[in-house]
């Protein structure tokens, strides 16, 4: 879900200059964090003079906010696309979703740096707070829908279940594991994380999620 080709690579020939700056900003956030992401650093990644930034964005903070929206939306779109591709078996969809979460491409210090910067902004800028709220809701709903599909496909009675709470829990567990894994990559592995999430999801939902 957190797949993004532009964190390390910036296509300097991009004719869409706004997008070029967004890519460069994300790249800089990933490599140098919020503190190291200066106008001059962004410009360097974009292969452009520093002064050009204000020609396309009102200011540096605005650019970073736009980058946030772009990245969050892109992740969600990727995720929705992947879901669409494996509509056949709902349980397999869940498995793929979990696996995708812990792909090495979607982890690491670089990614966490970007999200730390964005979360910091979320706490400050009121309009970004709404963006976060929106994105988060869509995530939860997606997981909830996957669960509902899986329940009906396996003829599981849901009268005593609360799919939304289950979705919130699963999402929180994924987030927590992802965070700790980025902070200390040595202590975690994709297989261990998957084992944990499979066990949790299986025993809370009653679905037979764990692959054989």
């Amino acid at each position: 879900m957190k797949k993004n080709n532009n964190i390390f690579d910036v296509n300097k020939q991009n004719s869409d200059k706004k997008q070029l700056f967004i890519d460069a900003a994300i790249c800089s956030l990933g490599n140098h964090g919020y503190k190291g992401t200066t106008v001059r650093q962004i410009a360097k990644y974009a292969g452009v003079a520093p002064g050009l930034l204000t020609h396309y964005f009102k200011g540096k903070e605005v650019l970073i906010a736009e980058s946030y929206k772009y990245l969050a939306k892109q992740f969600l779109d990727d995720f929705q696309t992947k879901i669409g591709e494996h509509e056949t078996d709902p349980v397999k969809t869940l498995q793929l979703f979990f696996q995708n979460f812990f792909e090495p491409d979607n982890m690491g210090a670089d990614y966490l740096r970007v999200w730390l910067a964005f979360w910091t902004l979320t706490l400050t800028e009121p309009h970004l707070r709404n963006t976060h709220k929106e994105i988060h809701n869509q995530y939860i709903s997606s997981i909830e829908n996957m669960l509902l599909d899986a329940f009906t496909a396996n003829n599981i009675d849901i009268t005593d279940k609360d799919p939304r709470s289950l979705a919130i829990g699963i999402h929180a567990l994924l987030d927590g594991l992802w965070l700790e894994c980025c902070l200390d990559p040595d202590a975690f592995s994709q297989s261990i994380n998957l084992e944990i999430i499979y066990n949790f999801a299986q025993s809370t939902t009653g679905l037979n999620i764990k692959p054989t």
Copy 2:
């Protein structure tokens, strides 16, 4: 666990000047985030001239690193103390631990701002990486021990269980819920969070954790 009286209040009469600066730094991080935490701002909270900082610490970054270690250690100590107080019933200990995690005092944007700054540092400074690793290990071990106590007290067979993985999962779930709750306080409540963690912990461990 995240209880800290010095996030908003700084005792300017503190004779231990090093601790005064640490309190002031945490206070500033909570109120203004990493970007807004300047030497002058810290000095203002400490009620002291800016130049005094370098007299007690080698530099600003060193002070923030020290604050990290102090806060992380304090949280763990608080947690250990609370465990000691309720040694009688292991299951009740777990309940208290969960409840304490979602106390309003331990949540909110101010607290998240502090941890975002610390996590950012963890990604940069190698020696803080070890600090994080150490603290995290102690957290997991504490939860694991609580689980083991609860298993033996309730005569539950653990041959088919992996207590450490369960502890990692529970910790990640707590972290994830805490994070999302700080980012969007409107969408969460203490009772919902507890309901979720109770359900997860109960169905994964087999313990009768949920309070009646």
